[in-house]
């Protein structure tokens, strides 16, 4: 256990030392909320007391920018590059079990996402008085399910691909369309019908839906829960199977 904590501690320091990763999870979402807040403001919607544009944006950014960049870029690229360069091989010569190196990276990415979410909420509240999530009790499991399901996709990418370049290409090919089409950064209602028809097929859109509901206090969305749980189960099983084949 002690060994696991030491590894995660070092991995956390390494993660924060990584300038590109830190920019995408911590800085980029904050820049977005400041930029779009300056453009659209956060005035309540027509229906009295309804949420403003930035109130709507915060949970979407948490999924599409914070969790998304960790799940589709940070996590798979770090795993593949460690496998490719021989870091995982070196760790396998220590008493650590084979899964420990991956679990440490997953936990560290989760911790980084929680930190970045707190920074985003704080910035939104300070700059545009965005609303805080309505229920912390529901927020925690919703956040974990959102992160867990997207991380599972990242783990599948990591076990399927051998080279860092391939992981980067596939990660970006999944991340960028989902960032714009999942409702996380652009409200789904703004999309033309043909693009809107695609959203149910994007795993990220269900995470946006679940977190949005919990954030606004409109309740826990059962359908999203089912889809995300399925994505998480299938992708982590696939990742484990591919890893075992080695």
């Amino acid at each position: 256990m002690n060994a696991m904590v030491s590894l995660a501690w070092v991995d956390l320091k390494l993660s924060l030392r990584n300038v590109i990763g830190t920019f995408f999870t911590f800085v980029f979402p904050v820049l977005m909320i400041l930029l779009f807040g300056a453009m659209y403001g956060n005035a309540p919607n027509a229906s009295a007391g309804g949420p403003g544009a930035m109130d709507e944006a915060v949970p979407g950014y948490v999924v599409a920018l914070v969790i998304g960049s960790a799940a589709f870029m940070g996590l798979p690229i770090e795993i593949v590059s460690r496998r490719q360069s021989g870091v995982l091989r070196r760790f396998r010569l220590t008493p650590l079990p084979a899964w420990a190196a991956l679990v440490s990276l997953v936990v560290v990415n989760l911790v980084v996402c929680i930190g970045a979410t707190a920074v985003l909420i704080g910035t939104g509240a300070a700059a545009w008085h965005t609303r805080l999530p309505s229920s912390l009790l529901l927020l925690v499991p919703a956040f974990l399910l959102c992160a867990g399901s997207q991380f599972a996709i990242g783990l599948l990418i990591a076990s399927a691909l051998r080279s860092t370049k391939a992981a980067l290409a596939v990660g970006m090919a999944l991340f960028y369309p989902m960032m714009f089409l999942s409702g996380g950064t652009i409200p789904i209602e703004y999309l033309p019908g043909s693009l809107r028809a695609m959203t149910p097929f994007l795993p990220m859109s269900w995470a946006v839906r679940l977190l949005n509901g919990v954030w606004r206090g409109s309740g826990w969305d059962a359908r999203s829960t089912g889809v995300l749980a399925l994505v998480m189960a299938v992708c982590s099983a696939g990742a484990a199977l591919l890893a075992r084949r080695e």
């Binding site: 060994a3 590894l7 021989g86 091989r89 070196r90 010569l93 220590t94 008493p95």
Partner: protein, 259 residues
């Protein structure tokens, strides 16, 4: 248990596609011995080491290190052995002292990492990231990491590759110190003078087999006698390199003929 078998290998086989990387390798290493493995590139040396430390599962035969099955009892084995391998790396951003601290904390018993730092001339590089280290500095760090758990058996694959003469001599002194403490050492090397000077016994490998296994002195005597012809045609004292060359080139000729 003095004089006991620390490593025993029987009929070890490993195939990659059409290539027999290990084709029935058998030997044993006793406590405190320094055992050398030499051979041309592709002879199967690295595969053999990888099977002994549990990184690869052999197709057939049996390997035991400290009485443990390297694949099924890997964790217990890894607590007791030290390994420096080719093709391994550390995360780019990790600092030298962090790496030593981390690896020390992965073992139930670890040595003083500050002593290792100064022993390997890495004190000045304590705060330097792995990505910024030179090849020789990385090699020294890997050697230090292999010794962090005070191992009973140490495996070195190309110990002195990429080291400058000072570090090479430091490594040879280290082998002497480890020997004096009764540590069993397995040394894979291309440097014949290194194998001749450091090893109690040497196995010459080619095409996945052990061609010969004996003390350096007897290997030389059996294959080339006590003198050899130098590169300028002069007679000189025979070396392990002469024995090695006569044996591996004979094997190559045989192999070509059989094709």
């Amino acid at each position: 248990m003095s004089g006991a078998e620390i490593i025993s290998v029987r009929g070890l086989r490993k195939r990659y596609g059409a290539v027999m990387a290990l084709d029935g390798v058998s030997f044993s290493v006793t406590r405190g011995e320094t055992f050398g493995i030499v051979g041309p590139n592709g002879a199967g040396k690295t595969t053999l080491i990888e099977c002994l430390v549990g990184l690869r599962t052999p197709d057939g035969g049996e390997a035991r290190v400290l009485g443990l099955d390297p694949v099924r009892q890997g964790r217990r084995l890894h607590e007791r052995i030290g390994v420096q391998l080719q093709e391994s790396a550390l995360p780019e951003g990790i600092k030298v002292e962090e790496a030593l601290w981390l690896f020390a904390s992965l073992y139930p018993h670890a040595v003083d990492t500050r002593a290792l730092l100064s022993c390997w001339g890495l004190e000045q590089k304590r705060k330097v990231r792995f990505a910024s280290l030179s090849g020789g500095q990385r090699q020294r760090l890997f050697i230090a990491l292999a010794l962090v758990n005070d191992p009973k058996v140490v495996f070195f694959d190309e110990l002195t590759a990429g080291l400058d003469p000072e570090a090479r001599h430091a490594s040879w002194n280290l082998i002497g110190e480890l020997r004096a403490r009764g540590v069993t050492i397995v040394l894979v090397t291309h440097a014949m003078e290194e194998a001749e000077a450091l090893c109690d016994r040497v196995a010459i490998m080619d095409h996945g087999r052990i061609l010969a296994l004996d003390t350096p002195g007897r290997l030389i005597l059996d294959t080339v006698g006590d003198s050899a012809v130098g590169s300028r045609g002069q007679r000189r004292g025979a070396t392990l390199e002469d024995a090695y060359l006569s044996m591996t080139s004979a094997a190559t000729v045989e192999w070509k003929e059989s094709k």
